[in-house]
Symmetry: C2
DNA sequence: AAGTCATTGTACCAATCGGTAAACACTTGA
DNA sequence: TCAAGTGTTTACCGATTGGTACAATGACTT
């Protein structure tokens, strides 16, 4: 038998793309074995909990990525305008200029959403909180920060859906371009 | 045998709720028979094309509803500000103040999206076009109308995802409340 | 060189999948 | 009254689902 000796974390990136593209229910084990090149034996060795554990691992991985690359950066960057600028750039890159969907949104819009409710809630409320705090630092009136953060986080999700539906990835960038100046009043 | 004598259009509303709640791939025929009370025989009598035809029928029904209640109203209401106001009110009602997802968005975020690409594209581009035209009538600079329409249509989708993920339907209303004044500059 | 143990392929499982077939019941119009 | 439709039930189909069991395989220790 060939031994490629995969590692759990190597598989997660592939799993993420599969779930992103086919949704949770649309992703079958046979599709996973095909795309990852791993047999069921290996899959269940890494993820004894099966498909659900695979999705959990992927969501955890994504949450960690956003935490370090987006949320932490929002809080740790001293210049708030620069922090916001970096967030928009990071998001544009992560979602490949509108060609990639957000797996959190994909799961939220699927029948599996209650199974991963905790992960979804954490992701979106963390983002909202860190963005709202940064907006306040940037001079947004305190009373408005939370609502503006919701508008932006939601706007990003919607823009991804829109870009996919219109088959026009550019729509994502256009929406981002309109969202950005709303939280950088100085440069608007 | 009992004869309840259902009609095709009676089933569609129920089908819509099932697809909305479970997604396309998450909706099984057994779930459909359970929720509609119809056996497979009846189902295939109304929809010979099976699950795909059921989803098509539902999407067509939704598209028709939006066409008559939202898109046509946008074009036909003489006062553009009033037209936009009515759109936001209609949307808020249709999506049950954020407690209901948009099936178009649900499909767009699922693996079934390419199967229904035409329907999705039509829905979103019609909405964008009619909204953009109304925005122009309302005094939005011509160059900005399309982008603003995209921002709003996308914003609505994203707000639904956000409300569902945060388990806070109110988030939908809050985003709508921020979107509305953006296209009614006079009343802002 | 033997032993350990993570990794892997394969065969298998019951359950469910979407879908078909055909007999049946009831309504309706001729 | 009777045939033609329109619904409806029920049984069934092969394929696929997610998941289990386990023996075989190597890379690494010792």
């Amino acid at each position: 038998m060939s031994r490629i000796v995969a590692e759990r974390k190597d598989v997660i990136a592939t799993l993420a793309e599969i779930f992103r593209e086919h949704g949770y229910d649309g992703t079958s084990l046979s599709l996973i074995t095909e795309k990852t090149g791993l047999g069921k034996g290996s899959l269940y060795h890494f993820f004894p909990g099966g498909k659900e554990e695979m999705a959990e691992a992927v969501l955890g991985d994504i949450a960690a990525w956003f935490r370090t690359h987006i949320f932490d950066a929002l809080r740790d960057t001293e210049n708030p305008a620069q922090a916001l600028e970096a967030m928009f750039a990071g998001v544009d890159g992560y979602f490949r200029q509108g060609r990639r969907l957000c797996l959190m949104g994909v799961i939220a819009a699927s029948g599996a959403h209650d199974r991963f409710a905790r992960e979804l809630n954490g992701y979106f409320s963390d983002w909202r909180a860190d963005l709202a705090a940064t907006l306040e630092r940037a001079g947004t009136p305190k009373a408005e920060c939370n609502a503006l953060a919701e508008e932006i986080v939601g706007g990003i999700q919607g823009a991804l859906i829109l870009a996919r539906s219109l088959d026009d990835p550019g729509a994502f960038g256009r929406v981002l371009a309109r969202l950005k100046p709303r939280c950088l009043p100085a440069s608007a």
